[in-house]
């Protein structure tokens, strides 16, 4: 675990708060799904919060572009889409960030440079590579962050994209959120190699494995990688080791995992890790933490209220937004 000694409270506290917001948001989304307020596929991010928050803290907002797969609620929130807009999108309301046309897997904000989740495993990887191509061509000074899961790494889209990115020297950071399971299939049962980061090395791309449960490590590694990527205009690849607490989607009770395995990961919960260290360093008291928790729960509760009270899209919306 990385030390937090070099950081000030006013840097760490917003990160802790944001991770907690994502956690509480997902808990509420799961709850509302259970109440049938939300339908379809709903892939929760619980357990992986350090990845999205550590990354978001290292990005240049409004300049760097982010794409991910269908487990995109966490990234949407940390990219700056409001809880109201995300929850309303899950409800399919017109006030949602994609006007109720995208849903859980397709949370977009062109302004905030959140280029969405993607419902096809690995489908976003070539698109992200193209975003980096445009950034370089148009000299925006930005880079693209491309997230995907361990299940996506075997797709041709991954391999074709990394080859192109290295060949054309594109400013893109590929991040494989290895949460150990592609739906119900463990990495061991799907990958010919144990360490996924070596797949990036096959394309001459600097690649490493990082601990996705430690938000400070994610932040530091992504920050220095982005600096190098922009300076040298060359891609990098991270295998981010993380864990999802919930099943693949709402219909998955995750019976393929042992209780012991899940408990072992819960013991290194990314929110607790940061909180405990901040308490240790006397930057935070238990009372303060409870106060923050109360605040974010209130924000999440309001997002539900906002979604519930928002109007359905007008039927005329069916045929808009198909052609520009």
């Amino acid at each position: 675990m990385r030390s937090i000694k070099g950081y000030k409270k006013d840097f760490l506290l917003p990160i802790l708060r944001e991770m907690l917001l994502v956690r509480r948001f997902e808990e509420k989304a799961g709850q509302m799904y259970g109440l049938r307020k939300i339908g379809g596929f709903c892939h929760l991010y619980n357990g992986q919060e350090a990845v999205s928050s550590g990354t978001a803290a290292a990005m240049v907002k409004g300049v760097d572009v982010l794409l991910t797969g269908y487990r995109d609620h966490g990234h949407a929130l940390t990219m700056g889409i409001t809880p109201n807009e995300v929850m309303a999108e899950l409800y399919g309301k017109v006030t949602g960030c994609s006007k109720g046309k995208g849903g859980s897997m397709h949370l977009f904000s062109a302004d905030k440079k959140m280029w969405g989740g993607n419902g096809i495993v690995g489908g976003q990887i070539p698109v992200a590579t193209g975003s980096a191509f445009a950034q370089k061509y148009l000299k925006t000074g930005g880079a693209t962050l491309c997230f995907f899961g361990d299940g996506a790494i075997h797709q041709g889209a991954f391999h074709e994209s990394l080859n192109l990115a290295a060949l054309w020297k594109l400013p893109v950071l590929y991040l494989c959120e290895n949460n150990q399971y592609g739906m119900g299939t463990s990495v061991e049962r799907a990958s010919s190699v144990k360490d996924l980061y070596i797949k990036g090395q096959a394309y001459g791309i600097p690649s490493k494995q990082i601990n996705g449960m430690d938000v400070i490590e994610v932040y530091e590694e992504v920050k220095s990688a982005l600096e190098a990527i922009k300076r040298d205009s060359f891609p990098q690849f991270f295998e981010v080791r993380t864990y999802r607490y919930r099943g693949h989607s709402m219909s998955d009770p995750a019976k393929y995992r042992t209780k012991e395995e899940t408990e072992a990961y819960l013991a290194q919960d990314p929110i607790n890790i940061l909180k405990d260290r901040m308490v240790q360093e006397k930057m935070l008291t238990e009372e303060e933490f409870q106060e923050i928790d109360k605040e974010v729960k209130e924000i999440v509760a309001q997002s539900v209220e906002f979604a519930e009270n928002s109007p359905e899209p007008d039927p005329s919306e069916i045929t808009t937004d198909i052609y520009a």
Binding site: V65, G96, C97, S98, K99, G100, K101, G102, H106, F108, S109, A110, W115, G116, N118, G119, I120, G123, I125, P126, V127, A128, T129, G130, S131, A132, F133, A134, Q135, Y137, L138, T144, G156, A157, E160, S161, N163, L164, L167, W168, T320, D321, I322, Y323, A324
Partner: protein, 326 residues
């Protein structure tokens, strides 16, 4: 007017649009140093450099998806598939990302890109390189699908396609790159969604697109020799389809033949036939005839491969069936 080949017409369109707009880039297999597998991009690398004319590895899914992202990021990529047949490897990126990103994001993005390459049967290529996939793309909301038959149409439509803010699938024909035709010196554009009556007639309407239009025109000549006046409607744009031009012709002739070199099941021909049957039912004096490729993979043997495809004879026979002439 200058007489130039289809290949040159397409090259001029690319050249002019790259000259006009620095965000237009061209990528694909062999488009640069090799001048294009069919020499459509001849000289463009020298003129615009390797940042705008990009030779890709043989990785259709990768570079097509890359073009989608580049389009979202503010460029206007033109992707050349060496043939549309190879595009099957990339079709997920086109259907799931290029055609839907705008809708799924509630209208926040546009995808101004063109995917072009030869579609349909060529010669002596057997089954994997000789097939028409027009219907695959026409099926999908979010695409624009163009399929010109002449150098004039090809140039005017490609220029429009590059300027359009949507994903345009531009279907060429391997057998037509050497086809010559008149093309004006001055700039012109052809609007998307406009069919063209290539020959006026009064007795029967023949509707087609892309390379088979030439066979339709030859069939119309033959029919004229037999005293039958055939009108030939070139759809040019398959999505959106210029239904009014088709219906106007049907209302005039009351008899229709639809010609498509693709397989007969669930193809563009079926689609056009169903539209005419539904919207011109009272105007029809005979069932709509279809001349399509046969429902078989393409054989290698030249005699057999010609038998499988539409021909002037088959079109003439279909027109006479529509006229109840034996």
């Amino acid at each position: 007017m200058a007489i130039i080949t289809m290949r040159e017409a397409l090259r001029q369109a690319l050249d002019e649009e790259m000259q006009r707009d620095p965000t237009v880039i061209l990528m694909g297999e062999e488009v640069g140093q090799y001048d294009g597998a069919y020499k459509v991009s001849k000289g463009l690398l020298d003129k615009y450099g390797d940042q705008r004319v990009l030779d890709t590895p043989i990785t259709e899914l990768g570079f097509t998806g890359l073009a989608v992202g580049a389009a979202m990021g503010g460029l206007r990529p033109v992707v050349e598939w060496m043939t549309i047949q190879f595009g099957l490897l990339a079709i997920d990126q086109l259907i799931n990302n290029a055609a839907k990103m705008r809708y799924m994001s509630g209208g926040q993005f546009k995808i101004p890109m063109v995917v072009r390459g030869p579609n349909g049967p060529a010669e002596y290529l057997s089954s994997q390189h000789s097939q028409s996939f027009a219907s695959y793309f026409v099926h999908v909301p979010g695409f624009i699908v163009l399929a010109p038959s002449t150098p004039y149409d090809a140039k005017g439509l490609l220029k429009t396609a590059i300027r359009d803010d949507n994903c345009v699938i531009f279907l060429e024909s391997e057998m037509s790159y050497g086809l010559k035709g008149e093309v004006p010196e001055e700039e012109y554009l052809i609007p998307i969604g406009s069919a063209d009556v290539k020959r006026q007639g009064t007795d029967v309407t023949i509707v087609s697109f892309s390379k088979p239009v030439l066979q339709c025109l030859a069939a119309a000549e033959e029919l004229a020799r037999q005293g039958i006046s055939a009108e030939v409607v070139d759809l040019r744009s398959l999505r959106p389809l210029d239904e009014e031009t088709v219906y106007a012709s049907v209302r005039k002739t009351n008899r229709v033949v639809v010609v498509d070199e693709a397989w007969p099941n669930a193809g563009v021909a079926n689609y056009v036939t169903s539209l005419i049957s539904r919207n011109c039912f009272d105007d029809l004096d005979a069932p709509v005839e279809e001349v399509t490729g046969m429902d078989v993979p393409m054989p290698y043997n030249h005699t057999l491969e010609l038998m499988v495809q539409p021909s002037v004879e088959k079109i003439v026979a279909a027109a006479k069936r529509a006229l109840y002439i034996d």
